[in-house]
Subunit: 263 residues, 2 copies
Amino acid sequence: MDKLYIIKIGGQVIDQPEKLKAFLKDFAAVPGKKMLVHGGGKLATQMAEQMQVPQQMVEGRRITDAATLKIVTMVYAGYINKNIVAALQSFACNALGLSGADGNAVLAHKRTGAKMDYGFAGDVDQVNAPLLSSLLHQDITPVLAPITHDGKGQLLNTNADTLSQEAATALSRFFEVHLLYTFEKPGVLMDTGDEASVIPIMDPARYEAMKKNDLVFAGMIPKLDNAFHALDRGVNRIVIGQAEALPDLITGKKGTSIVHGNQ
Amino acid sequence: MDKLYIIKIGGQVIDQPEKLKAFLKDFAAVPGKKMLVHGGGKLATQMAEQMQVPQQMVEGRRITDAATLKIVTMVYAGYINKNIVAALQSFACNALGLSGADGNAVLAHKRTGAKMDYGFAGDVDQVNAPLLSSLLHQDITPVLAPITHDGKGQLLNTNADTLSQEAATALSRFFEVHLLYTFEKPGVLMDTGDEASVIPIMDPARYEAMKKNDLVFAGMIPKLDNAFHALDRGVNRIVIGQAEALPDLITGKKGTSIVHGNQ
């Protein structure tokens, strides 16, 4: 099977044009098949302020009312997605931006039954792996925005971390998938105050031991739980690290690689 | 060669949700290969007002400064494009939205040398017919937003009428292209005050005679000149008519069909 790198970038990089440009240049240079999933950043919040649409966040997730959905659709699937695609094209990477509605790339449903009403928040039902695989085999690099649809005409706001993971597991049928989460830290840290304390390799046994001894920073637990879940669902390797270190995350020189116990 | 319908919808329909929905339902029902090109509508102007970005129009074209480019990218390639795509998906049409940057679909250059500085306005250099043709052969319906790129990372605002025509001529190498411009009138009228005076068929000889006798409404002249130019460049037929009459425009029962003299 061909290797496929699925790389997620978050808001910290998106909000800084120079950092974003440098990251996209590195991304364009990643050899072989690759795909980018991006989050939002502060622009949606700024737009909402400018348009006087009050924003409510619960546990890091935006409550997506109709006015907010309009804004995130414009910002994520429009402004951010198209600027990323145009920049990648300038670096000779044949990128093609997709929301979940495009080619039915990601089908989701409106989140229901939660204690909270998240509004137009979408939980992923299905990633169209044959479409993405077909694009990848045409040497096209999909750039996925965190906007999905329900198949009935409704767009939905979807968490980009979850979206990356769902794409990675779906594409594991077709590729040897390496899923890279880039964020502000250089990896999973042994000591949250010490950026030099990156744990290079983490497997289920080590993770369980660390959790038991309260050695895992609470904010990392959902990310790590998701990562191990993705391994169970066929993803080959998950790497967590800094966007600036992308080339070294690819080779495994930097970041934390999350792997099966038998590796 | 397979038939391909390239259908352009303008702002009048886009601004009216119920009309747009009805149009998209009709569009989804067009048999065979088809592609949609959409314009902007009033939402960009409303957004600009809300965000206090002053807008300047010259001869029906928006002067695209950096702040306006940001707005039209959000509105055209984001909000309008993704809502159209989601609606088409709900009507079982496998739509996929594209800006010109996506897959390098439409390469353009910043308009220079004009008497006016149009800002980030793009004139089309090349439509990526192999990409569009490949999508069409995968039974995907491209939905093209009037945002292009220059290959150097710059997005550009492009007139949707011109974009439709450039796409139609480029795709004429691969398909028998029927280009439909939908607008507010039922076709080219003999008498602008009488909507029943639609000219069903127009060829170059008739057009020249009408122009000589001042029988063509001035606002139609650029549209018609473009239409005849497109025929010269390989497009099979051009139809001008009302969005509400789409099924009858397809069959030729309504609207004005613009054809070669020998047909």
